[in-house]
Amino acid sequence: MTIQVGDSIPSMNVQLVTDGPNEVSTDDIFGGRKIVLFGLPGAYTPTCSATHLPGFVAQHDDIKAKGTDSIICLSVNDVAVLGAWSDDLGARGKVDMLADGSAVLTRAMGLEIDLSVAGLAIRCKRFSMIVEDGKVTALNVEETPKACDISGAASTLSQL
């Protein structure tokens, strides 16, 4: 079942792209903090590279000025791919990358989408959410992977 406003982020260990050890619990990431989390179908894919991530990179100052502790990008890719992509798009230090390589968190939130036809297997739908102290307070899930409207940086910023 898809996660809803009012639900808690599932508790589990995940991987963030960092310079050091990168395993961290969702409790530590979200507990007592205000986080903007957005998810996308894949690093290096057109909409994600041209619009979704760059939008959050460009508006990270405005989003953080609204009391957001960090902005996190989730994708079903591994840390190697997400780290490279993040560097290519200048995201490091502005948007943190959460590598859900086995789609465990994505499935736990009910946000998975089967893109096997294009050779991408199980991925994450395009979405954004605001999470305060572990609870979802706003959620925007796009109808199709190609759409990037309600989950975009500008739209999410307007909800803060």
């Binding site: 995940v14 991987q15 894949g42 690093a43 290096y44 894919t45 057109p46 890719n77 591994d78 840390v79 190697a80 791919v81 780290g83 490279a84 992509w85 290519d88 590598a99 859900d100 390589g101 086995s102 789609a103 465990v104 096997s116 294009a118 050779g119 991408l120 297997a121």
Partner: protein
Amino acid sequence: MTINVGDKISSATLHIFGDNGPEAVTTDDLFSGKKVAVFGLPGAFTKTCSAQHLPGFVANADALKAKGLDDILCMSVNDAFVMKAWGEKHGAPGNVTMVGDGNGEFAKAIGLDQDLSARVMGVRSQRYAMVVDDGEVKMLKIDPPGTYGETSAETMLAEN
């Protein structure tokens, strides 16, 4: 079961990045009537794969083709977008064809898949190298996890 020398390549559908994004290709398209070098690896942008395995085949592409190989295929359980981006960083275009086995269909069909969920990478390919002549495996090398050498371009060049 793992494929052996003398076996026919199992059927699978993979994806290569074309003019309109990921384009489906079958093992028939890739192997029929051709002599092809194939190397498989655990992941684009990961350390050994980026520092040694792919660069070795790019550097030795001309020498391998001079030995009668029609094509050199790099196979990984990544999507075609990631394979394209990674290949371009390492000079693959014109030397090595980057083939996305994003669903892991080929790796599983030849029995050379491995579960890297503990590293949050899901199911991936083992590190291997093959020479395939008109769909029949003529040479097969596998590097055990964490090792690299038997599957290198240099080894293939020396033994063919």
